[in-house]
């Protein structure tokens, strides 16, 4: 079966430095995949390659078997690849509902909903992420966790088949992380494939069926979380001995 997304030898250089260096993996429909790695490992760069923000310097990216390398970002989005930003990027001049409605209006290529339908969809997505009560607020009135929810809601409203989440849990406290986990699960249950960049191990272990570890732009490990997180190379490069000991002990 053709994978939903297939990366082959994906390479992106900045000057002489390869931020992403020959990364190869594929994602099946319905998977929930975690991407971890130290700062500067190339995680966000990889997302930018997939969503078309960066042009590849090598390799190919296929969506259901068809190459999408070199497509403009809006075309990738319309194919069904949703995306959030690590540093949230709301449309500041609009209300929460309008932000999400824009996602519903423009996301998918197959469907061009009228304005009313887009706002209805915005409301149901806001319900899903738990922002329904704050729909009419300006973005500036939202707390940080809520802004992260809005970021996810806007991406979900585009009807993605694959959702790329860039550190949506960073900076949240434990209770907020539990809520956010619940939200990611809810989105995943609607049939969306999810790729999750995350530093919070609890999140990776909590929801991911598979983890890829990046280091210096290369794939260091790829497999089930409990196997990958015990991998000696992963511990050395990223997790550190203390985490490994806690994992063994607990």
């Amino acid at each position: 079966m053709t994978p939903q997304l297939d990366l082959r030898n994906v390479t992106k250089r900045f000057g002489g430095v390869a931020a992403v260096d020959g990364v190869t993996f594929s994602i099946a429909k319905g998977e929930i995949l975690g991407v971890i790695g130290p700062n500067g490992a190339g995680k966000t760069t990889l997302l930018n390659c997939i969503s078309g923000v960066y042009r590849l310097d090598g390799g190919d990216i296929r969506w259901h078997g068809v190459s999408i390398a070199g497509l403009a970002p809006y075309r990738v989005a319309r194919l069904g690849v949703g995306r959030t930003f690590q540093i949230v990027k709301p449309f500041g001049s609009m209300t929460v509902r309008e932000n999400v409605a824009v996602g519903a209006l423009f996301g998918s290529d197959s469907e061009r909903p009228p304005l009313r339908a887009a706002f209805d969809r915005a409301d149901s997505v806001l319900e899903l992420v738990g922002l329904r009560m704050k729909a009419d607020l300006p973005v500036s009135a939202l707390t940080i966790p809520d802004r992260k929810r809005l970021e996810v809601a806007r991406a979900v409203a585009t009807r993605p088949k694959l959702l790329l989440l860039d550190e949506v849990m960073a900076g949240l406290n434990n209770v907020e992380i539990d809520d956010a986990l619940e939200m990611v699960r809810a989105v995943h249950e609607t049939g969306v494939t999810v790729v999750l960049i995350e530093h919070v191990m609890r999140v990776i272990v909590g929801v991911c069926e598979r983890v890829i570890v990046l280091d210096l732009g290369r794939t260091l490990a790829d497999g089930q979380p409990d196997v990958v997180l015990r991998d000696e190379r992963v511990i050395q490069a990223y997790l550190g001995e203390r985490y490994a000991r806690r994992l063994r002990g607990g």
């Binding site: 809006y74 449309f91 423009f106 304005l115």
Partner: protein, 289 residues
């Protein structure tokens, strides 16, 4: 008292034109982050279009306004798509240079076609006005104010209540996020500039009915649009309208100062702008970002 009322009326009527010129300039600045130095030239292109149609066919000049709007929209769309889009992410100086160049080209093409003679649109009702007990309100200027407000209202409605308007707002807020929810940036930019040009065209058509025009008559309007937008505050149509009306009023009162008021009217109007900037940097109705 009658003098005061007359001044307010003169100011508001002039302000309507400033608002009409300002709304397109404000849209392009707010969304594309381009201070469009060719805006005044677009205004005058609209003015000549009205004059040409009126002279050639005798069509009522007010009926030429939709033609101005459509023609300038198409022109603006093509210019943005083909030329300005190439440097849209470049530093401000590059867009300054480019739009200044476009301004020069437009003005010189007009000089080539129409020469530098003064042209004016004179209709049967050109001199007529509403007499309110000694205060005369020229019909054309009154209609121009009405149309300016109508254009502004239509633009605000389009931005807030339509698909393309929401796309423009989204692009103005955050380009990266906009393209990643599926908005075609180059198209959205071109529509934005086209709308700005269409507003300029309508404003030009109105100006052709009010004053004599030459190919170089547009330059002051670029400057005035700049002041009006700063005065009102960037980012909202209503703010630009208020900025335009306030600028018109200040200018009218400055001109009425006995002695050298008329000489310093511009200086006084700019002085008020500086004063507003010092006390309210976001403009009268603007929101701090």
């Amino acid at each position: 008292m009658a003098d005061l009322v007359q001044l307010v009326i003169i100011g508001l009527l002039a302000g309507g034109i400033y608002a009409a010129v300002g709304v397109g300039f404000s849209l392009v600045w707010g969304v594309l982050n381009i201070v469009n130095l060719a805006h005044g030239a677009l205004v005058i292109v609209g003015a000549y279009l009205t004059w040409q149609i009126f002279t050639a066919s005798g069509l009522d000049p007010f009926l030429t306004l939709p033609i101005d709007a459509v023609a300038l929209f198409a022109f603006g769309y093509v210019v943005q798509r083909g030329v300005i889009n190439r440097i849209i992410r470049a530093p401000l100086l590059f867009t300054f240079l480019l739009t200044f160049g476009l301004n020069l080209i437009a003005v010189n093409v007009l000089l080539l076609i129409f020469k530098s003679d003064f042209r004016s649109v004179t209709t049967a009702y050109s001199g007529a006005g509403l007499d309110l007990g000694g205060i005369v309100v020229p019909y054309i200027r009154l209609a121009a104010l009405g149309i300016a407000l109508l254009v502004a209202a239509a633009l605000a409605l389009l931005l807030n209540r339509t698909r393309v308007g929401l796309a423009i707002q989204a692009v103005g807020s955050d380009r990266d996020a906009a393209q990643l929810v599926g908005i075609d940036l180059r198209h959205a930019y071109a529509v934005t500039y086209g709308l700005g040009a269409a507003c300029a065209g309508v404003a030009g058509g109105l100006i052709a009915m009010i004053q004599a025009i030459t190919p170089t008559a547009g330059e002051p309007y670029t400057l005035q649009a700049f002041v009006v937008v700063i005065l009102g505050g960037l980012g909202r149509v209503s703010a630009t309208v208020v900025g335009g009306l306030v600028f018109g009023l200040v200018e009218a009162f400055a001109q009425s100062i006995p002695g050298s008021g008329s000489v310093f009217a511009n200086a006084i109007a700019f002085g008020v702008m500086v004063l507003v900037l010092v006390t309210r940097p976001q403009g009268l109705l603007g929101r701090l970002r």
